[in-house]
Amino acid sequence: MSMFNVFAIAGSALTAQSARLNATASNLANADSVVSADGTPYRAKQVVFKATPVTGDGGVGVRVVGVVDSAAPGRLVYQPNSPGANEQGYVEMPNVNVVEEMTNMISASRAYQTNAEVMSTAKTLLLKTLAIGQ
């Protein structure tokens, strides 16, 4: 019954979008983290989506295949008194673009809402199907 597959498909999208939301939260929280776990400035994280068949009959869900570090150059801020400053007095800040992260967050949240709505529509329809013959 293909209506049940809608749950698998929309569910995979919910998982993927929440992973994206997680990455955004991490980026925003660390927008000013000059030192990360390995001693270098924090790098913005981006999730990579990939379409994945979830059912045998043409249903395509989505999956997070990896989390990559953004390749954008870090911001250089002139702070000669900071312990992290280089010889010229510049501190390399994380390459997090806050505006980009905010739009990413809104986009992820809208996508999550849409997929949740898809699930609730599928549920209504399945309940209607159950009511056949009553």
Binding site: A51, G56, N115, A122
Partner: protein, 136 residues
């Protein structure tokens, strides 16, 4: 007797099956709205219904003699008559994704209403048959 009852339901059942399959395809499109290079897919319900009612079945499949051969059908396991096709894109995106959320959402809502109608018709048909059987 039973096969006649079955005949009564046949068209509605075919339609409901096709609608349910289309609902799955549209859910796939909505789920992959942010996936790079994903191409939105859909079926032409009317053409699929025509084909299914005329019992012409699906498109001819290619003969496969090895497990590595392709079947030549875009939607494996699709119900009879349904031919999965790629949607024509309205606005191209840099990441190669062709999902247009407005189109997909409206198609999803439209399809849901149609499916609900099919289910209501089925229910009413069964109710009518029940009345006939009970003779009250």
């Amino acid at each position: 007797m039973l096969d006649r009852i079955d005949q009564q339901m046949d068209a509605l059942r075919t339609a409901a099956n096709l609608r349910a399959y289309r609902q799955q395809l549209l859910a796939s499109n909505i789920a992959n709205a942010d996936t790079p290079n994903y191409k939105a897919r859909d079926i032409d319900f009317q053409a699929a219904m025509d084909k299914a009612v005329a019992r012409r079945g699906g498109d001819l499949a290619m003969a496969t003699t090895s497990s590595g051969h392709l079947t030549g059908a875009a939607g494996d396991g699709a119900p009879a008559g349904a031919r999965v096709m790629y949607r024509t894109e309205y606005q191209s995106a840099v990441d190669g994704n062709t999902v247009n959320m407005d189109v997909e959402r409206s198609a999803f809502a439209e399809n849901a209403v149609h499916l609900e109608a099919m289910l209501t018709f089925l229910r009413e048909k069964l109710r009518g048959l029940q009345t006939a059987i009970q003779g009250q």
